[in-house]
């Protein structure tokens, strides 16, 4: 049993538990917290895969993001309507069947097509390399994304601005 295996199984359990928490929670704030747990677990998985920068970014961006989700979850819902997310039993069963089937299918395919387990031979990339790559190989998508972010910022501001009467 290697340390990586221990860590992976531990984190996988945590991530799965939190994801299931998201599924089972009926309260929006709890759901958001479970989401945070999942995201944190995934961030640790990134650390496990030596993607340190990505892990940290995940924590920063998603901590902020989840925060907003929670805040709006609190503000936009009330116990009367929002909290008890009433799910129709039929819908629930249907969704469960479909998702479980999908999961089973995916897992089966993944396991069957799994190649031999190889240890990664890649070096651990540093932040500098990511930066260099972003500004050389991936410069175009990088710029596109930044333009998109600007558009999103303006769009969101436009959407929530009070109506002129």
């Amino acid at each position: 049993m290697t340390g990586e295996a221990i860590a992976f199984y531990l984190l996988a359990a945590v991530v799965t538990a939190f994801a299931l928490g998201c599924v089972l929670a009926s309260n929006i704030v709890r759901m958001a917290l479970c989401l945070l747990g999942t995201l944190g677990g995934v961030a640790l998985l990134y650390f496990l895969m030596a993607a340190n920068f990505l892990g940290a970014i995940q924590l920063i961006v998603y901590a902020g993001g989840t925060l907003i989700v929670i805040v709006f979850g609190v503000m936009l819902t009330s116990r009367a309507y929002g909290t008890k997310l009433r799910v129709r039993p039929l819908e629930m069963i249907g969704a469960a069947v479909v998702t479980l089937a999908l999961l089973a299918g995916l897992t089966a395919i993944l396991v069957r097509t799994a190649g031999p387990v190889v240890s990664p031979s890649t070096p651990d990339f540093g932040v500098a390399q990511i930066g260099t790559e972003l500004l050389s190989t991936y410069l175009v998508p990088f710029e596109v994304i930044s333009v998109l972010l600007l558009a999103v910022m303006i769009g969101a501001a436009y959407l929530v601005q009070p109506e002129k009467k």
């Binding site: 990586e4 704030v29 924590l59």
Partner: protein, 586 residues
């Protein structure tokens, strides 16, 4: 004056059945945790890679928790004894702590290097292997003379010995000293990374706890002095130094109250969500080039991320309390955090851009050349970034004048309204830990990190001298004491501001962020970019700006010192005759 002892605090609290129950609970918990720690430790010793890291974390946390629980059981069982004993020896403990910190500064250099040298001797440079106690016994304990130098230059943290330490002077091998046998047994565990990491984690946990306790007491003393009173004076001997300890014991025994209708799991969880990140960010916070638990190449991002997560605990606490004041406090906290992280991030980008690295030790090492090499004094923009950073951290730590989430005159106690006892104190541990962390971060990023204002190469010769010269070097030029000192300086400024300024209103907080700090920080970042592009290092303009900023910084420090000195020497005149004469009631 009769001292208020722990026993006094306990006497009023314990019911007949509570004491044995608490002892039993703590003892059982402690044993379980100890077993868990041992198991995890065993796993960790065999686990390489990231799993090792997790296991170490688990081992250390479980170990600390086990020790805490067993200690609590012991203290509660023998509270009368412990109380009197503790408070008799108050001063000794205090002085011992100070001396301990001073000595600890050289542990990595003196002990770890020694063991590493022994390993290298035995297996050859660059190789790894495990020494037996007998091997260690054969090693003489003369200190490797230039190991400290190597450690300082290497700046490798507590990484495995093989990482970068090469070509260092060999330990002198001599005949077995009478104490060598004992030392060998004591030092044998130090050759394992696991031991060093656990020591580091225990050190971090201990430091954070002591930090919070000390800072709470200190804040009360500072507040008292600013308000022409004495502050805590009774518990303990000297100036009520044990006040936070007694408060802590009191808080531990308080009833854990839940509100009807509160979201209990979240309510219980929230203090931990707030506390754990505040604790964990110390893992990446360097106290000096060698004194760091994990020297991450994304250290700054890591700390920022954890600080962001801690806020979530406060928000969840406010929401789960089922109290409208708490909820309003949580909303304020959310507003404030989301807004102020942006100028904070921009301000942080300036030193990152100047130095070109996110690794905190690397940023720190660049400032070794004395006062004028500190990053804040490199250009007007870095200085502005330092000011912006400090202001934004005030808001991020919800300290006055940005303490809206707990604004006691508006929101009762804001998010903390419904918390009591231990959970309540956890929030404060988190708050003070974070306050110190941002202070230390300000020091690392802008104000010379663990270096004194004197250039570090001035006393370099002392590194090869006897122990006292090395210790003096550590005190005068370079070492964790300097970072702690700087961190506490910024902490003091935070305390000072809190007891001086009124609170800002919510809309003004948002206004200050969005309309003032955000554009300013953007301009500063832009300016710093152009400065880096257009002003070459060593050019006339750069030197002039450097000198001017340094002069400004020196002037500010001298002004503060002058004000303090003036205030202290004229305190009687300043307060007024009446206050001194205690008139006319006496």
């Amino acid at each position: 004056m009769a001292n208020f002892t722990v026993e006094d605090a306990l006497r009023s609290r314990w019911s007949a059945s509570a004491k044995p129950r608490a002892v039993r609970t703590f003892a059982v918990l402690g044993i379980v945790l100890a077993v868990a720690a041992l198991g995890l430790g065993y796993l960790a010793s065999s686990a390489p890679g990231a799993g090792y890291w997790l296991a170490v974390l688990g081992t250390a946390l479980a170990g600390v928790a086990a020790m805490t629980c067993l200690g609590a059981a012991f203290v509660i069982q023998f509270s009368r004894l412990v109380g009197t004993w503790l408070f008799r020896l108050a001063f000794l403990i205090f002085v011992g702590g100070l001396v301990g910190i001073a000595l600890l500064a050289w542990v990595p250099a003196l002990l770890y290097e020694q063991v590493d040298a022994a390993v290298a001797d035995h297996y050859g440079a660059g190789a790894t292997g495990v020494l037996t106690v007998a091997d260690l016994e054969a090693v003489g304990w003369a200190l490797p003379t230039d190991s400290i130098e190597v450690r300082r230059q290497g700046a490798v943290g507590w990484a495995p010995p093989t990482d970068s330490i090469d070509g260092r002077g060999k330990a002198v091998v001599g005949s077995a000293h009478p104490t060598a046998s004992f030392l060998a047994y004591a030092l044998w565990p130090l050759q394992f990374r696991l031991t060093r990491d656990i020591l580091a984690l225990v050190g971090v946990v201990g430091f954070v706890s002591l930090l919070a306790m000390f800072t709470i007491w200190w804040e009360r003393k500072v507040a008292g002095r600013m308000q022409s009173r004495l502050g805590p004076m009774r518990v303990g001997g000297w100036h009520g130094w044990a006040q936070s300890m007694a408060d802590g014991i009191k808080l531990l025994q308080k009833e854990d109250i839940y509100l009807e209708g509160a979201d209990r799991p979240l309510f219980k969880l929230a203090p931990y969500i707030a506390f754990m990140p505040a604790l964990a960010l110390f893992l990446a916070l360097p106290f000096s080039a060698a004194w760091i638990c994990r020297d991450l190449d994304i250290g700054l991002l890591f700390i920022l991320a954890l600080a962001g997560i801690g806020v979530l605990g406060v928000i969840v606490a406010g929401w789960a309390s089922n109290n409208k004041w708490s909820l309003l406090g949580a909303m304020r906290e959310a507003c404030q955090m989301i807004s102020y992280e942006i100028p904070l991030g921009f301000a942080l980008l300036v030193p990152v851009m100047t130095t070109g690295t996110l690794r905190l030790t690397a940023i720190g090492e660049l400032q070794a050349g004395g006062f004028h090499t500190w990053l804040a004094f490199q250009s007007p923009f870095t200085l502005a970034a330092a000011v912006l950073f400090f202001t934004a951290t005030l808001a991020a730590c919800k300290r006055a004048p940005f303490d809206l989430p707990e604004a006691e005159s508006e929101l009762v106690a804001g998010v903390y309204t419904e918390y009591s006892g231990f959970r309540w104190s956890l929030f404060f541990f988190a708050e003070y830990a974070e306050m110190f962390a941002v202070g230390a971060l300000a020091a690392i990023l802008f104000f010379g990190a663990w270096y004194s204002p004197l250039p570090a190469n001035w006393g370099a010769a002392w590194l090869h001298g006897p122990l006292w010269q090395r210790a003096l070097y550590g005190i005068l030029f370079n070492g964790p004491l300097w970072l702690i000192f700087k961190g506490f300086f910024f902490l003091f400024v935070q305390i000072w501001l809190r007891w001086t300024l009124p609170r800002i209103r919510l809309d003004q907080v948002m206004y200050a962020c969005v309309q003032v700090m955000l554009p300013l920080s953007m301009l500063v970042l832009l300016g710093a970019t152009f400065w880096a592009l257009l002003v070459p290092h060593g050019s006339m303009l750069a030197v002039v700006a450097n000198l001017a900023c340094t002069a400004l910084g020196v002037g500010a420090v001298l002004a503060i010192i002058g004000i303090v000195f003036y205030g202290y020497s004229n305190r009687r005149q300043l307060v007024g005759t009446l206050a001194i004469e205690h008139w006319p009631g006496s």
